[in-house]
Amino acid sequence: MSKKTRLLSFAAVLSSLSLLAGYSPVAAAAKPAAAKNVPVITFGSWVPWSTHPGHVKLLNEINRENRGKFIIKPVYTPPSGYDQKLLTELAAGDAPDFFYVDYGFVSSFAANHTLLDLNPFLQQLKKQYLAANPQNYYPASLAGDSIGGQYYGLPFIDQPYVMYYNPQLFKAAHLPMPTANWTWAQFLRDAKALTVPAKHQFGYLQASGWPPLETYIWSYGGHMFNSKGTQAELTSPADLKGIELMQTMVRDKIIPSQAQIENLNIEDLFRQGKVAMFLGGANDGNYTYGNHPINTSIAPIPRGTQQVTGDYVAEIAVNAKVANPKLVVQAYLDILTAYAHTHVVPPIRQFAQKLQSIYVNSAPGGHIPAVRIPIILDSMKFARSLRPMQNMTNYYNIETNDLYDPILLGTSSAKAAAQKAEIDMNNYLKNPNG
């Protein structure tokens, strides 16, 4: 073999290897990028595209429909530490053109002029896209997106919290199934009857941070802060009732101890039938455990003095530094529209009404059971989002250190915990970064 032949063979092997390494559905999705003069728009998310053929298909469809206009190229960032990585990319001027933003971060990103003010574009495009008109969205889903009336992001998913329950355990305890309008008092009675210490079976699950304490406080008419967001209200009678509800769960031993759930996936305890009720997002489904179908049902969250539930919202925002904002916003709205056909629950009302048509991989028959749909859509109506605050990390620190941990570990009374939390929250409101 001559030197030239050897070199050619080596080059051939190298190019074959690079072809093999480079092939993936995602690469295929971005393949048209080779087309000349077609702008490539990058879309950052925590979705591992290579393992989500549905997402790749959706992206390919958008790219096909917009052939010659733009090409959306997915950029994957692992979910662990996503916000920090995104911040670093924004600081380095290397962030994608539009990207996922976790709830509560839109306002702080926008305050640093890193997000595009969407208002002028939404105004222009609202006749073309349902997703471009904020009035089409469930109001709670937009709570984190608007600053002074200007929109800096839009939600792509809004999951209200619903009560998942295990009908077999209810039946075995001779209890009626939960219905709409059930109360926290009824819930506590049921949870107690469903707790069987000898079988290590519990009525409910409450960990530090999940389900959120705000949900209980809201259901008794309380609020974490006053309407202006200048004063904490944790010692108000309504707030105390919500905090006491969590303490009752500990006192009545209807929840496993924190030692028993430390480092466990708590939702798995529900799926395994060790816990009878679990408050989770509507998208959780809980249709299967592993690959095995499980028998679960849902009910609206119990009510205190009013019917309120929390929700999980995630958003997509546009990078302020994009070269062609109008084109990027069009691609962005295409993605939001496509997502409204694939994500449970779409935050846009018109799409949410077609919830039964959304394909859900783990659901029986690939769709949400009909009996669940009115419960989810009703919950959307009374769902409430957390008020976005500056430096949410400090907010969560106070909530965990002053409320969840002392109450769940039984080291403080609800009143004493609320008093300490109120002082710390007021200090936080004065100086969020302190």
């Binding site: 920090q84 480092n263 941990d405």
Partner: protein, 304 residues
Amino acid sequence: MQKVIRRPRRETTMGYLFISPWIIGFIVFVAGPLIASLIISMTNYNLLSPPQFIGLQNYAQMFADSNFWLSLQVTFYYALLAVPVDLIVALVLAIMLNQNVRFMPLFRTIFYLPALLPPVAISMLWIWILNPAYGILNTFLRTIGLPQPQWFLTPQTTVPGYVIMSVWGLGTWMVIFLAGLQNVPAELYEAAVLDGSGVWAKFWHVTLPMISPVLFFNLVMGIVGAFSFFTQAFVIGQGTGTGAGVSNSGLFYSLYLYQKAFSELQMGYASALGWALFLIVMLLSLLVFRSSALWVYYGGESSS
């Protein structure tokens, strides 16, 4: 004559060229970031907006920051417990592994093995060992009728939990002690035996002085290690509280610095914390170096 002068100059240039990768690496990756962090420590900088010069405000802010004092308290508590305990256990293990018994290489390998595991894997393992409900340690304590601490779920036992973990991974210290022990001349022990010394007297008057330079090295490294303790606190802290254990009982200094820098993007304050940590460790190391003249034996030479 000219040739004689030129050659060293050429050699000098060549020398610098050869070490240039290190010099460039040092300037770019060590000296540059060091100077940059000093400058950033005097600014208000969140990565997204340009830094604003604020003088020494970040340093002044530390005095009023309760979490700064808490993190110092947690770190000092850990250092005070972990460094002596680890030194003693490592020394005892090294003495045991310095005996002339069968299968000694196997024992040495077994005892050293945990030191090879990455800190994240160690953390994941110990999360389960110290699980209050299902952990093997509490199961053992329950079996022998002793109280079972809640470990990382109780502020009082969080740091002791980390200390127990640190004991498990002290294989490197043990090997260094072992090397020191093997360098102690056998004649000294023979002479001590002839003088009627027992086991304790031999350890106290021969072994300890002879391995004192090794002890000194391990002590300095232990202090530096304790003050830069991060990975285990970060991994385990995620499971409880808000990333630093229940009621911030696992808020080690390095973890707090990380939270300020990368969760809250207070790069200026985090840099100031970094410099404060540098000063603390330097001060402690200086104290240990100063004290070494009193207790470190360098084969008849003065340590000073």
